[in-house]
Every structure is written in C-alpha cells, then in structure tokens.
C-alpha cells in the first residue's frame, strides 16, 4: 500500500538518500534498520512531507502522494510517530491524544477513539489529565503511539520507538506494535534495535549511507552473516 521508487533527498547540497525503493503491503510489519545517520528519519520526513527537497515517487493506496501537503497525507491515513516522540509537553495527555485526531476525517469520532486508545493503553487513562512533559520515557512513547492511532491510520510509521527505553518498556512497545497489526493497521518500523524489530517484522530493509543495502524476510536477515556482524553484534 506504500510504495517508494527512486527516492533521493537533499539537505542543501548534501544528498541524504540515494535511490531508495521500498514497499509496505497491507497488514505487513516492515522494518527498516540502519546505523546512526543512515537516513531513516529523512525517509520518513519525505513520506510525511515534513521536508520537500526530494525527488522520486511516493504512492499510497495506489495514488501519488509526493505532491500533497502534510495535512492531506495524514487525512489519507498515513501517519508518522516521530523519533524522540515529540509530544506537546505542556498539554495534557488527553489533549495530546485529541490532537492526533485533528484531521477533519477524525474529529467527529475523537471521543470514542480516545476510549479505544485507553482500552489498548490503560496506563494512559490513569495519566489522562497529567502534562505530557511529566511522563516517563516508556509512557511517553506509548502516548506518542496512541496519538498516532488517534488519526485512525491504515499505515503507521514508527521512528525508533524503543529509543532510550528500558528493556521492559521496549517489550511493551514491541507488543503494542504486534497488537496494532492485529487490528489491521500496517506498520513501517524504523529501528536501531535490529534484533527485536527483525523478529517482529515480516520483511525488512537495511539502509546504509542513504541506500538500501539489503532486503528480505525478517527471519532471513536475522540469520544473515553480514547483518549479524554489523547490527546484531554477533
């Protein structure tokens, strides 16, 4: 349902992505792994159109979206949960979730959807009126994913959701990712935590220096000698 072809992205004169082609099918979890500065977040920024200095083709549900403004992309159900969570720190957890449903398509159903998200993430219900800035790292990540789910996405893109979390919180996040897919939402999971994400993913891409260096089934890459050495520390 998401299809990238020959994506090239630039920061000023510096090229950050080179000919990236990638697909996410309906109901799939697709992992993208790569070291620091490989270009993973840049790729998501292009898809969400948080940056516009790129060339290439991006389609979603069979239609080109690379010319659309960011709000139209969210409206189509393609949502990004950014690296570092980027919650609104001085708004309450409930207000953060509400803003996830800002797009016109979602506003009317906002109240019911918050209940749904609280159903999946009961911890957030307890914290509903607390300022988001006061959440622990794990709670903040759950809140950020919950905020993404508020937009009723058909594909959710998670940028390093396990970054800076305790092993227990990482487990919780990964379980949530699996649960999201069970609900029929496709997931594009960007991670440095290669082992956990490869286990979870149906397929995976390895990005190095802005290029796709490898791709295959998650289990396949877990067993790959090069991946083992470079990303799994074996």
């Amino acid at each position: 349902m998401l299809r990238l072809r020959n994506l090239n992205a630039y920061y000023g004169g510096i090229q950050a992505l080179r000919d990236i082609s990638l697909d996410v099918g309906r109901g799939e979890i697709v992992a993208v792994i790569g070291a620091n500065a490989a270009g993973k977040s840049t790729m998501l920024a292009c898809i969400s159109r948080a940056m516009d200095s790129f060339t290439g083709e991006i389609s979603f549900d069979g239609r080109r979206i690379d010319g659309l403004p960011p709000d139209r992309i969210v409206d189509l159900g393609l949502v990004q949960v950014p690296e570092g969570r980027l919650l609104f720190p001085r708004l309450s957890v409930r207000e953060n979730l509400m803003l996830g449903a800002y797009s016109r398509r979602c506003r009317a159903g906002c109240a019911e959807r918050i209940e749904e998200v609280f159903g999946i993430l009961p911890k957030l219900r307890e914290r509903a009126s607390q300022l988001a800035g006061s959440l622990s790292g794990g709670e903040a990540q759950l809140c950020a994913i919950g905020r993404g789910l508020m937009a009723a996405p058909s594909l959710i893109m998670l940028d390093e959701p396990s970054l800076g979390l305790s092993p227990i919180a990482v487990k919780e996040v990964m379980a949530l990712v699996a649960a999201i897919r069970e609900k029929g939402v496709s997931v594009l999971l960007v991670e440095q935590n290669a082992r956990q994400s490869l286990r979870l993913a149906d397929r995976a891409y390895v990005i190095e220096n802005g290029r796709v260096a490898m791709q295959g089934a998650g289990s396949e890459l877990l067993e790959d000698a090069v991946v083992k050495k470079a990303y799994l520390g074996l």
């Binding site: 403004p69 960011p70 950014p82 720190p89 001085r90």
Partner: protein, 292 residues
Amino acid sequence: MEQIAQVLVSGLLSGGVYALASVGLALIFGVVGLVNFAHGEYLMLAMYIAWLAYDLTGASPYASMPLNLALMAVAGYLTFRIIMARVINADHSIQMLITLALSMALQNLALMLWKADYRTVRIEMTNQVIDAGFLVISAPRAIAFAVAALASLLLYLFLQRTWAGTAMRAVAQDGRAAVLMGISLRRVYGQAFVIGTVLVGLAGLLLSPIYPVFPLVGAGFSTLAFIVVVLGGLSSVPGAIAGGLLVGVVESLAGYFAGPAYQQAAYFLLFIVVLIFRPEGIAGGRGGERRR
C-alpha cells in the same frame, strides 16, 4: 488609605487595557515566532478608525466597534498574507527589519492621511464617572476594563476549548510535531496573527474616548507591550495579562507618589529589575522554550 485604593483601582483599570494591547503580541510571538515591531501601529489604526467613524457620523467608538474589529481582521489578514507569510522562515533579524519597516510605513501613512494633529473623540461619556462612594471611576475606563476582561476570557476559552485554539497551543510548543498531526502551520500562523491584530485593535478603540490619537501613538504602546510581554515570559498569554495589570498598577503608584513625570521611568525600572532577578519573566518557566 482611600486615596491608595483609588490609585490601585485606577492602575488596574489601565492595566486591563495594557494587557489587552499586549496579549496579541505574546500570542503572535508564541505561535508564529515573530517579533512584531508594528504591533502598536494596529492600535493606532483602530484608534483612527474609531475617530473617523466619530468624525464623519458622530458614532461612538462602541457603536463602530463591529466595523472597526472587522476592518482590523482584514488588516491583519492582508498583513499576514502579503508580508508576514513570506518571512516566517526567515532569520529573526530579517523579520525584525521587516516589521520595523512596516511600523514606519504605517506611521507615515497615517501622517499623510490624517496629519500630525492630535485627534480626540469627545463622546458624552468621556467625562462621565461612576461614583461608588469612596471610589470614583471614569466611565470609559470602566468600560474599557470590562471589555478587556471579557475579551481575555474569550481568548482563554478559545485556546482551551476549541480545535483551532488547541492547535495553536500545539504549534507554539512544537511546530514540527504539529505538522505530523495534520495541522497546517500556515493556517494557524495566519489565525494567530489575525487574532493578535484584532485584540490590539480592540484595545485601541477602547482607548479612543480617553486618549488622543496621532500618527506616533502606536510607538509608545509598542514599547509598553514589549515590556509587558517580557515581564510575562514572552510567549505566555496569562503572563501577558498579569504583566499588563502589573504595569498599570506600578505606573499608577509611581504617578501618585513620585509624580506623573515618573510613570514611564517606573515601569522601565520594574522591567530592568525583573530582567535581572527573573529573566524568564514573572510568569516564566511556562512559555519561552519552543521547538520548531
């Protein structure tokens, strides 16, 4: 004692209007990230509109309020579309130069259209007072305070209770994340700029029965609004309201104890003292920091 009460009340009344003249500046800075040196010029424009309506038709500034506010909204919208939208991502120094230039252009436009004369709106109410026993309050000043308080309350409800207001607070805290929520930054910036302009315009028209209008009247209020907003922690709306009331009271007390000549000196002094001991502003801690 009664005199002190009179002085304090009088200060609070002025302070309410100062707050109204300043919240727009705080809102525009907080949401759009723009330091608008032309802020006071919109107060001047609204005063001229009130004066023109009075001069041409005899209408009081209260009667011409709907027209006045509508024109201010149009002025804010055009300013945003034609000028501000182009410099939103520019350097702060460029933004400052642009708004300074705009301020001078508007001052000179007023000078050209209406000359340097002091114009006054002499409605009947200008000299009426409300006599509450030990307190005597001028009627237009009481109205100005009441309307300013109501406008602040409406602004608060808008920011807290509506989608557009919540989006505005979100943009003020993290524009990058707001984009990912599907919030159009440009639209929110435009809305904040228009609301800020209408609010300072409202302050101007409320002042028009008690304060003369002339081409440079906005410059003094720009300075005042800057002091108020810095006292309030720059981008904080409640902070600007507190700052406005404080400046009003300090000005009034200084006028009473030291003489009218020291009123401005007093709030500049307050400004310096606060900056030394609480550089984040009296309402600081909230507001201020911002990710883009």
